[in-house]
Amino acid sequence: MQPFKPVLLEAVGVPDGYTLASYKSRGGYAPLEKVLAEKQPVDVVEMVKSSGLRGRGGAGFSTGLKWTFLPKDHPGPIYLCINADESEPGTFNNRILMEDDPHQVIEGIILSAYATRASTAYIYLRYEYPRSWHRLQAAIDEAYAAGYLGKNIRGSAFSLDIYLHRGAAAYICGEETGLIESLEGKRAWPRIKPPFPAIEGLFRKPTVVNNIETMACVAQIARRGIEWFKSIGVPADPANPRDPGSYGPKLYCLSGHVEKPGCYEAPLGITARELIDRFGGGVWKGRKAKAVIPGGISMGLMTESELDTPLDFAGPGKVGCLGLGTAAVVVIDDQTSIVDFLHNSCRFFAHESCGQCTPCREGTSWSLRMLERIKAGKGRLRDLDILLEIGNTMGMMPGSTICGLADGAAWPIKNAIKKFRGEFEDYIKRTNPSGWMVTDPVPALQIVGAH
């Protein structure tokens, strides 16, 4: 791999890198001034569209294309929501961008608002990031004082307000329509689509929801150009007309059993093995990896032999994972029980299912109860088939839920059992020698009489 100089993480380690003065000294806000003076909103949409930028929040949808879904000549208001509810287990790149280079994010938001003709942007920030909250608010205040926010930005006809809005510790608020409902003051129940937010979103107005890292990319595309962005990453596969390519730098979050966990910037398409060995200092304690999560827990698992898979938008899907997700790579060493991993995953999703759709609400809690029973030494081989049945039937893909949370809950179940079935069977037989072969229904828990 060619040496690669970080761009999105340029400010990390720079003293006072989060201040306006530091950001401007690195060339920040000059591209914004140029855009406001010389370009029309449609030019910015075209720039982002032709850069090939795909949303960094998890779904990987083309950012510029998403913007074009807004109705033409809408009288307004149009809203821009920035998704900073980074809650996918293993993911922390937005936190680093907000803490270490908030102006890069803000410049991206201003450019995106200009492109989408939004005059109000809300940053939906998860509660767990108090430092990001203070850094962003200080940066927003600086930007207002310098005329980059507010009325008639830098003498142009464009005006924009950015408001921070804090969540309250719920994973589902990262789903874009859940985020919208939460911002409106309601429980964060995702909406049935269509209508998509671009047509009817926040406060029933046309809305774009974009991720923090996507905003940082927009700022860098404006500064360095389309050609620069397209020179990084993996070009579209000519054999697959539906592959739009994976361009640009990406922030990979590396954690779990590695020597040096951290957020590392690399061209899209680096392999998990390269990431672990070159950036992470290898699997910790000289051990080997048993499994690796490619992009947040909901993307499933790769086995050791699949670690040469490129981590671009198309890569993880080729080895049965859900996708690149948030590019949060979590390493699980060979001393870890895959049963423990799956229990942890099921516990997370059972806790975070919003409860709106029955297959997800019941499926996630049922799978957790089964994993608890297996861990308690009362597992049966039949349970693995039942778990797979749950995994295969809950989610947007099988068409039984409104949002993708259940698909994310299902993927670790399906991947773990498919790729590590032998380990599950051994565990069950070893811990439940007298009952592993039973196939009768498990009786409901005895209700202890209250009177």
Binding site: S87, T91, H257, I297
Partner: protein
């Protein structure tokens, strides 16, 4: 009828009203209002819910519906002056997060979500705190405690801290 306010102070109402111009309707103030009250009182009792609803022109049930969804705002009694969220999601769990939680609950004599008798500490399991590069980690009020061992965490949680913002 506007109920007499007994919990929300004029200052809290002023803080809520100061945010009103940001949103096209008052229902969007629900979460900010809950945070404003919770930051002061460390819980949001039912009476406060009714008073927030009166300020925002909503039914108390609408505010309560939102509040209960998040499982974040305590209602029965205030959480401790230090509220410690101990991460139990995958990256922290792989580096001892569950053990850390168990140890802290045991040494402080409280169950998860419990508060010590003196009201100084509440320990809650948390899903991913987004600081997996410092696993296992704890968010204690506004402070991120990084790379915690059980012993280090025990000492850290005895320290007084600025209240959460």
């Amino acid at each position: 009828m506007i109920a007499q306010r007994t919990i929300l102070t004029d200052e809290m109402v002023a803080k809520i009203e100061a945010l009103a111009p940001r949103y096209p309707n008052r229902r969007a103030l629900t979460l900010p209002a809950l945070h404003i009250v919770n930051a002061e009182l460390r819980h949001v009792p039912l009476q406060a819910v009714a008073e927030i609803a009166a300020v925002l022109g909503l039914a108390p049930a609408e505010v309560q519906d939102t509040l209960t969804f998040y499982e974040f705002f305590h209602q029965e009694k205030p959480h401790g002056t230090v509220r410690a969220f101990v991460c139990r999601s995958v990256s922290c769990a792989l580096r001892g997060g569950d053990h850390l939680l168990e140890h802290l609950c045991h040494t402080n004599g409280i169950p998860p979500y419990g508060t010590t008798v003196d009201g100084s500490l509440t320990i809650e399991p948390a899903e991913c705190l987004g600081a997996c590069d410092f696993a296992p980690c704890i968010l204690a009020n506004d402070d991120l405690l990084k790379n915690m061992t059980p012993e280090a965490a025990e000492a850290e949680l005895k320290k007084p801290r600025a209240r959460a913002t």
